[in-house]
């Protein structure tokens, strides 16, 4: 059942490409803003690059998550999902995984422009950079999907999502920046393994909370 729902999410996105494309374009404009505000001075940017990268991802993911829930509201499609005889926790899991996939796809495209526009070198250990990035994406999406699931039917939901999401996700921002800094500076794994633990515990706690809470919060 999880795979059917995941396939549906991916298929809708494949049809319209609206989530990944809108995230990508928004991300590019944020890079532009970073370039202008930092004077693209290599001294400033290279220290701050991991932070910039994750700030961009955070803003972009709010946009993407909002999209994935607004097409459910269109034509009342969501009532088909929740009236179906399935465990609603699975809806959370499918949205979580599909959201992570969209975010990762968007990042894979934007990594090169990000580093090149800011006149930085690409990460030397590319595989490690990407794999830690995917782990962080899982954590970001586990929180983002749960928060937007909670307020999806609320008035002003597009305002409430970032207001609740940003403070809740602050441990992930810290950890992601530390991990990426470590990977970019090629420091020893022991120096940032603690932050991987933080990321993993966020994933476990929020995935469990999302899976159990979705039954209550998705009702109309």
């Amino acid at each position: 059942m999880f795979l059917i729902l995941l396939k549906k999410e991916l298929f809708i996105e494949f049809r319209s490409r609206e989530v990944v494309l809108s995230m990508l374009i928004f991300g590019l404009s944020i890079i532009l803003a970073f370039a202008f505000t930092s004077n693209v001075s290599k001294v400033i940017v290279s220290n701050y690059a991991p932070g910039m990268f994750w700030i961009m991802i955070l803003f972009v993911s709010v946009l993407g998550v909002h999209r994935t829930f607004s097409y459910e509201k269109n034509f009342d499609a969501f009532s088909m999902l929740i009236s179906a005889p399935i465990d609603r926790g699975i809806i959370y899991l499918s949205k979580w995984i599909s959201g992570t996939i969209f975010l990762t796809l968007m990042q894979l495209v934007i990594i090169v422009p990000f580093f090149k526009f800011l006149l930085l070198d690409l990460p030397s250990n590319f595989i490690l950079f990407i794999s830690t990035m995917i782990l962080v994406n899982l954590a970001i999406m586990s929180v983002a999907i749960l928060v937007s699931g909670i307020v999806m039917r609320a008035n002003l939901s597009e305002v409430l999502v970032p207001i609740l999401f940003f403070p809740l996700v602050s441990p992930v921002i810290i950890a992601a920046t530390k991990i990426s800094s470590g990977v970019l500076a090629e420091t020893a794994y022991q120096l940032w393994q603690f932050w991987l633990l933080i990321i993993i515990s966020i994933i476990v706690i929020f995935a469990l909370a999302g899976y159990t809470l979705f039954d209550f919060i998705t009702e109309e």
Binding site: A154, L160, L164, S201, F206
Partner: protein, 223 residues
């Protein structure tokens, strides 16, 4: 309808807590030793830390009320959650106000990214969102479920926020009174007394607020 303080036990409790509060102010002002390099500024410690304790306790009550609301689906637990969220936010605000007042003479600047203070600030921001959902979320029955789930995930997030903030900038570890156990008895005992009194004040406030919210609910329902 009998008002809350017409009840003899509640009235007695109010007077009792009031006397204790007066005693607490006296005790803090005159019976505690002066810390040499902090002087009067250190006294705020007896308010700052108990406020933080009550604030976090109250947010814990919000989580429990949220869980109970989902299990029992009973409006009573929503009222408890709302009351605890309101009072918790009052005390957390008190922490965020007394923190800089204490910090300015000691550290020379109003804000330092000290882990406990930072965690408190993040939690405060989450609860601003909580109250925004409460007021703009839509019809009341729906908002109750949103509020309960935010209360649950906010508290689940606390240990992780604290851990990550603590190791985020390890050079900032200069909380003036971190090691409670290492405090001399002259400070520790009045501090513990203050902690107990604050907890009693909290219990009184919470009970009163739940009572008021219940009356408000009844009035709206009967209109």
């Amino acid at each position: 309808m009998v008002t809350f303080f017409k009840n003899k036990n509640n009235m007695f409790f109010l007077i009792f807590v009031g006397i204790l509060l007066l005693f607490n102010i006296y005790n803090i002002s005159f019976n505690t030793p002066m810390v040499p390099d902090q002087h009067w500024a250190q006294k705020i410690f007896y308010v700052h830390v108990p406020s933080a304790w009550v604030g976090f306790l109250s947010y814990f009550v919000v989580m429990i009320a949220g869980l109970m609301f989902f299990v029992k689906r009973n409006d009573y637990w929503d009222n408890v959650g709302l009351a605890a969220a309101e009072i918790g936010t009052i005390f957390i605000s008190l922490v965020l106000i007394t923190g800089p007042i204490w910090a300015t003479p000691i550290w020379g600047k109003p804000w330092i990214w000290e882990p406990r203070l930072t965690t408190t600030l993040i939690l405060f921001l989450i609860y601003i969102g909580y109250f925004m959902v409460r007021s703009f979320g839509g019809h009341i029955e729906r908002v109750k479920r949103y509020a309960a789930s935010i209360g649950i995930i906010a508290f689940l997030d606390v240990p992780i926020i604290f851990l990550s903030v603590q190791f985020w900038a390890p050079e900032i570890q200069s909380h003036p009174q971190v090691e409670m156990a290492k405090q001399p008895a002259g400070i520790l005992i009045p501090f513990l007394i203050s902690l107990c009194i604050f907890t009693l004040v909290y219990i009184l406030m919470l009970r009163y607020r739940i009572y008021v919210i219940q009356i408000k609910d009844k009035l709206i329902k009967n209109v």
